[in-house]
């Protein structure tokens, strides 16, 4: 039960940190709709934490 609470608290902390730093989106729905997504390039940063 202790570990369950620990994990939930950690997740809440991450989400709270994420919500606190949401950047402004300069685009509107119409602007986005006028676009065509050609590619998605994904890379993993060399100093990324992966485990």
């Amino acid at each position: 039960m202790h570990f369950f609470r620990h994990g939930a608290a950690l997740a809440a902390l991450v989400l709270a940190a994420g919500c606190a730093s949401i950047p402004n989106n300069p685009l509107g729905l119409n602007r986005v709709a006028s676009m065509r997504l050609e590619t998605v390039d994904v890379q993993v940063a060399s100093d990324a934490t992966v485990w």
Binding site: F3, H6, I22, N25, L29, R36, L37, T39, Q43
Partner: protein, 144 residues
């Protein structure tokens, strides 16, 4: 194992950590994370774009945390993904919008009982993370 007398949980945790941290496993996780996130974002974001202006997404993953079942049973932990997403003009390469350090976490069962329930009740945690990440980015993108 360096220790001669250790508990079963410690042996399992050490073994799973060693496997996850091996160069081959790290390379596989990185490659798989990139591949699945690419597919998830392409699917989710394409659904909102119906025009002619060519754009692309450049994504840099900063953190992928996928605690093993053994770790969640003993120590607890939640799967997490943190990445920066940049929307780029196809022609000029100019940045249109950026969402730095978009972070998502999902609930996964912790403790022995939580892990047992989780094994039966849920699917792949990384797919869940990708779905949540892509949906959150999509919501942000179309927000007015």
């Amino acid at each position: 194992m360096r220790k001669t007398r250790v508990g079963a949980e410690e042996v399992e945790k050490d073994a799973s950590s060693a496997v996850a941290n091996s160069p081959a496993a790290q390379a596989y996780i990185r490659q798989e994370a990139a591949r699945r996130l690419q597919a998830g974002l392409l699917r989710e974001v394409s659904a909102e774009m119906h025009g002619q202006e060519p754009v692309r997404l450049e994504v840099t993953i900063h953190q992928v945390v996928m605690p093993s079942a053994a770790q969640r049973a003993v120590l607890g932990g939640q799967p997490m993904l943190n990445a920066t997403v940049r929307l780029i003009e196809g022609g000029s390469g100019k940045e249109i919008a950026a969402y730095p350090n978009l972070a998502v976490a999902i609930n996964a069962g912790n403790g022995v009982l939580g892990v047992m329930v989780d094994q039966f009740a849920t699917g792949d945690h990384f797919d869940e993370l990708v779905t949540k990440f892509s949906a959150q980015y999509r919501q942000w993108l179309i927000k007015t």
